[in-house]
C-alpha cells in the first residue's frame, strides 16, 4: 500500500467541508446546508492553500473564505465552518462571533485538538452569551501539517533548528518547540491512520521527541479505541507496520547547504518555492520603457506548481540541461498538435477533392478540435510557465555561476576536495556571499579531517575580504570539533560514505563525477515564444546520484538486519506493552522519514529515487519541520554562531 499523505489530507478536508456528515448522508446541493462560509486562520490557510484552490472549494459549496482575525460582517442564514488552530484566539473569536450572531450556525473544527480547559472556556463563553444553540458541531481534526506532494509534507514550523540548538534557550522554549513537533507528527500519523514503529538515533532532540510521541500515541490508543481504527480498518489488521524514523538535522548538515543541479531543488533554492508556489520578479517589458512611460517597478508573478502539473512531475528529478531539452521537446510536440488540429479543421482544404467527403472530415475534425482545445490550452499554459521558470533559473545560474559551485561541491562530497580551487572561487566575483559561505561550509563538513588552523584562517580571511559574516563557519567548526555533526559523526556516516558510492553506483557512470560543464547559452527570448536552446558542449554527467546519508541509513533500517551501527538507534513501539523491550521488526516496506530542524527537496529526491529503485519497491514519505533553502539554514547557523559567541 502506498502512503499518499496528500490524498488523505484532501479527503479529511472535504469531509470537514461537508460538515462532517456521515458519507451516506452526503447529498449534493439539494439540502439546506449547501452554501457555507469557511473561516480560516493563518496556520490553517497554509494547510488548505496547496490542496484546494478556490474553484475546488466552490465545488464543495463554499462561497466565501474569510480570515479569523479580519473584521467579518453578518451573513444571516448561512452555516459557517471554522477551521482554526485549537488555541485561545480561536475560541475567543468563535464565542464573539456567536454572540454577535454573524452566522446562522457554527461548525467548529480545531486542529490538532481542543484541550480540555479551552473546551470549558468555550462552553462558559457560550452560556454567558446564551448562544450555545448556534454551535452545530465541535470536532478535533488533527490536520496540523502541510502536505505538499503525495510523499512530502512539512509542519510549517519556522526556525526549529535555531530553537532546538540555541545554547541560550530556556527549557520552556525548547519544550514548546518539541510539543509543536509532536503535535504535527501525531496529526500526520492520525491522518494516515497508522501506528508505526519509531526509531531514532540515540541522544539529542530526536530521542526526546520520539519519547514524547510514543507517550502520546499510547495515550490515544489506550483512551479512544476508535481513533486509529475508524480511519482505516484494513490497516489496523495489516501485519506490515510502517517504520517512522526521526532524525536530527545535525545528522547530515551538508545536504542542506549544497548547491543543487536538479530541477525541483533548483526551483526551491534559487527561486524560492513555498507551499507549491513560486514568486518571481520580472523586469517590465522593454517595449514599454522604449515608448517613454515611467519606469515600472518589477512585476511579481506567481506560478503554481505541484501535483497535476505533468511537466513538474516528470522532470522534477532531472538535471537542469535535460529539463531544458524537455521543455523544448514539449513545445515542439504542442506545435505539432496545433498544426494537426488546424489541418483537420479545414485550414488546408483540397480543392479538387470530393466536397462531401471533405465537408464530413471537416466537421469531424471540428468536433475533435472543440473537445480537445481546452486540454491543449492547458498544456500550453503549463509549458509556458515552465519555460518562464527555466529562463529565470538560467539567468540566476549565469549570474551567480552556480554550476561552478555545484561542481566543486560534488568534488568535495566524493572526497576530492580542492582547497585552492575553493579559495579561488571565494575570492572571485561570481556568486553571492551566501553561495561562497555555503561552499566553505560544505568543505568544512565533508572533509575527512578537520582543516588545520592556517588553512581555516585563510578561508575565513578570504571570506571576510569578500564581505561575508564568518559566524556560521566558526559555529560549524566548533560543532565538528565536538563531533556533533558531519561525516565523521554518525556511525552510519562512515560506511555510508563508502556504501553510498557503491550502492548508488547502480548507474555505473558515477566514477567521474565532475565532468565538464559548459554554460548553456540560450538566446534571450520573450515569454511565450519558443526556446531555441543552443546547448553547447557536454552537459554535466550524471552527478546527482550521490546519496544523502539519510538514504543510506534508511536502507539499513528498512532491511531490519541487526548490525552494530543500527544498535545505536533507539526503538519505540507504542503498541507493545510498556516495559517490554520493543523488537526492531523485520524488513519494512513503508516508512516515514522525519527531519527535525529542516528538510530539503534534495534529500526528498534522494530518498524517493532510492525507494523507487529498491526491490521490492518501497514507499517512503519524507517530512520536515520546514522546507529550508540553503540561505535560510545559513541564516539560522549564523544566528547560532552569534548567540553561542564563537
Amino acid at each position: 500500500m502506498v502512503l499518499n499523505i496528500r490524498q488523505k489530507q484532501i479527503d479529511a478536508l472535504v469531509r470537514l467541508l461537508h460538515l462532517n456528515a456521515p458519507p451516506s448522508a452526503l447529498k449534493s446541493g439539494g439540502d439546506d446546508e449547501a452554501y457555507k462560509v469557511l473561516v480560516l486562520d493563518r496556520v490553517t490557510k497554509d494547510i488548505v492553500a496547496p490542496l484546494l484552490r478556490i474553484n475546488d472549494l466552490r465545488k464543495h459549496g463554499v462561497t466565501l473564505h474569510l480570515m479569523l482575525e479580519a473584521e467579518r460582517q453578518a451573513i444571516p442564514d448561512v452555516p459557517a465552518v471554522y477551521f482554526v488552530r485549537g488555541g485561545e484566539e480561536g475560541v475567543e473569536r468563535a464565542v464573539a462571533d456567536a454572540a454577535a450572531g454573524l452566522y446562522d450556525s457554527l461548525h467548529l473544527n480545531f486542529t490538532p485538538c481542543l484541550p480540555a480547559p479551552l473546551m470549558q472556556k468555550l462552553a462558559a463563553g457560550m452560556v454567558a452569551a446564551s448562544c450555545a444553540q448556534r454551535v452545530g458541531k465541535v470536532y478535533d481534526q488533527y490536520l496540523s501539517f502541510i502536505a505538499l506532494e503525495a510523499g512530502l509534507f512539512s509542519l510549517g514550523l519556522h526556525n526549529t533548528y535555531l530553537q532546538l540548538n540555541d545554547p541560550a534557550a530556556r527549557d520552556t522554549q525548547i519544550s514548546a518547540a518539541s510539543e509543536a513537533v509532536v503535535d504535527g507528527l501525531l496529526s500526520v500519523l492520525i491522518t494516515l491512520g497508522i501506528v508505526p514503529i519509531i526509531r531514532c538515533p540515540k541522544g539529542g532532540a530526536a530521542e526526546h521527541i520520539a519519547r514524547q510521541l510514543d507517550a502520546r500515541l499510547r495515550e490515544h490508543l489506550g483512551a479512544r479505541q476508535n481513533l486509529f481504527s475508524e480511519a482505516a480498518p484494513a490497516l489496523a489488521a495489516s501485519l506490515a507496520r510502517p517504520l517512522l524514523c526521526l532524525f536530527d538535522r545535525n545528522f547530515e548538515l551538508s545536504v542542506m547547504l549544497q548547491h543543487t543541479w536538479t530541477y525541483k531543488p533548483l526551483v526551491h533554492d534559487v527561486l524560492g518555492l513555498s507551499l507549491n508556489r513560486v514568486t518571481v520578479e520580472e523586469a517590465p517589458p522593454a517595449a514599454a520603457a522604449a515608448v517613454g512611460l515611467a519606469p515600472q517597478a518589477p512585476v511579481k508573478k506567481h506560478f503554481e506548481v505541484g501535483e497535476g502539473d505533468f511537466f513538474w512531475d516528470a522532470n522534477g528529478r532531472n538535471q537542469f540541461p535535460k529539463v531544458a531539452e524537455d521543455v523544448d521537446a514539449q513545445l515542439t510536440k504542442y506545435k505539432q498538435a496545433v498544426e494537426e488540429l488546424n489541418r483537420q479543421t479545414g485550414a488546408g482544404i483540397d480543392p479538387n477533392g470530393d466536397p462531401g467527403a471533405a465537408g464530413q472530415a471537416n466537421t469531424r475534425g471540428l468536433m475533435a478540435a472543440v473537445s480537445s482545445l481546452p486540454e491543449l490550452t492547458e498544456r500550453k499554459r503549463c509549458i509556458d510557465k515552465h519555460t518562464n521558470l527555466a529562463t529565470h533559473l538560467l539567468q540566476a545560474i549565469k549570474a551567480r555561476g552556480l554550476d561552478l559551485f555545484y561542481n566543486l561541491e560534488e568534488d568535495m562530497l566524493s572526497g576530492k576536495a580542492d582547497a585552492a580551487a575553493m579559495l579561488r572561487l571565494i575570492q572571485g566575483d561570481k556568486g553571492t556571499l551566501a553561495d561562497k559561505l555555503r561552499l566553505a561550509l560544505v568543505q568544512l563538513l565533508t572533509c575527512e579531517a578537520l582543516p588545520s588552523e592556517p588553512e581555516f584562517d585563510r578561508t575565513t580571511s578570504a571570506l571576510a575580504a569578500a564581505g561575508a559574516d564568518p559566524a556560521a563557519l566558526a559555529y560549524v567548526r566548533r560543532m565538528r570539533r565536538l563531533n556533533l555533526t558531519g561525516r565523521a559523526a554518525a556511525a552510519a556516516g562512515e560506511p555510508g560514505g563508502g556504501g553510498g558510492g557503491v550502492a548508488g553506483g547502480g548507474g555505473g557512470a558515477l566514477a567521474g563525477l565532475a565532468g565538464q560543464s559548459h554554460l548553456l547559452s540560450w538566446a534571450d527570448k520573450t515569454f511565450g515564444q519558443g526556446l531555441s536552446s543552443l546547448t553547447k558542449g557536454v552537459k554535466v554527467l550524471l552527478a546527482g546520484e550521490q546519496q544523502a546519508a539519510v538514504t543510506v541509513a534508511m536502507e539499513a533500517l528498512m532491511d531490519g538486519k541487526p548490525s552494530p551501527e543500527l544498535d545505536s538507534f533507539a526503538i519505540f513501539d507504542p503498541k507493545a506493552a510498556p516495559g517490554r523491550p520493543a523488537r526492531g521488526g523485520g524488513p519494512f516496506r513503508e516508512a516515514l522519514v522525519f527531519m527535525i530542524g529542516g528538510g530539503n527537496y534534495l534529500e526528498y529526491e534522494s530518498l524517493a529515487t532510492w525507494a523507487g529503485r529498491a526491490t521490492p519497491p518501497k514507499s517512503v514519505v519524507y517530512g520536515a519541520t520546514d522546507l529550508l533553502s540553503g540561505e535560510q539554514i545559513l541564516a539560522q547557523l549564523a544566528e547560532l554562531g552569534r548567540r553561542s559567541g564563537v
Binding site: 446541493g29 460582517q73 442564514d77 466537421t363
Partner: protein, 299 residues
Amino acid sequence: MDRTPEFWRCVISRAQSTGVPEARMNKLRSAQILRSLATKTAYTNAATEVAKNVDALAAFVGQHRRDYVQPGRCSEAERDRIEEQVGAFVRTCTDNIARLEASVAAEPALNSHVVAHRHGAALILSERLHAVGSAFDRCRSLRYQQLLQQQRRRRALPEALAPPRQPYSPYDANSGSGGAGWQDGSAEAGMRPEQRQVLEAENAALAEQLANVGHGAALAESTMRELATLHQMLSTQVMHQSEQIEQLYTQAVAATLNVERGNVHLTKAIAINSSARWYLIAFLLAASFGLLFLDWYSS
C-alpha cells in the same frame, strides 16, 4: 473526532453551576433542535430550489444516458425528445440563476460580505449547470458520431447494389433485342421493345440521378445535424468568452474612470502652470520697473 457531546455536557454543567433557570436551559436545547427549521431568507430558499432543479436535471441525464448513447435502444424521435427536454430545463435553470443575480443587485443596504456570498452561491449554481450541460453535450457528440457511422454504412450498401444492376441491363437489352427479332410482328409490337429499351434506359438514368440526389440530401441532413451540435458547443465557449469579455469590460470601465480622473488632474496642473507663468511675467516686469525706478532715483 467528534467532541460535540462533550461540548454539550460542558455547556449544561456550566449553565447549572452559574444558576441559569431551568426554563432557559430547555429553551436552549429546543432552540438548537429547531434551528434547522428557522426561516431562511428568500434568496437562500430560491437558491436551494434552483440547486434542487439542477440536481433533478443531472439525475435525468444520468438516467437516460445509457438509452441515449447506445445504438438501437431508442428511436431517433425519443432521442430528439430527450434533447428538447434537457434544452428546456437548461434554459429555465439559466433564467433562474440570472434572476438570482439580478435580485442581489436590486436589493440595497446589504453589506459586502452578503453580496459576495450571494454572488458566490449563484456562481456555484451556474458552474454545476455548466458541468451537467457539458456532460450532456458529450453524450450528444457520441450520438452524432454514431449517426455518421450509420450514414457511411448506408451509403456503402447502395453502392454494393449498383454493380448487380449492370448485368441486369444487358439482360434487358438482350430481351429487348430478342423482342426486336420479331420484326415480322405488327409495327406497334415492334416499336414497343425498342421503346421499352429506351424507356428503361431513361428510367435507369433517372433512378441513378434520384439516388444521387437522395445521397446528397442525406449528406446535407447529417452535415446540418453536425453543424447544430457544433453550434451548440461553440455557443457554450462563446458564452464563456462573453463572460470574460464582460469582466474585461468592467475593468476597462474602471480604467476609464482612472483616466478621467487623470485628465482632471492634468487640466488642473495646466491651469496652475499657466497661472504660474503669469506670476513669473508679472514678477519680471515688476523687477525691471523697480530697476528702472532705482536707476532714475539714484541718478
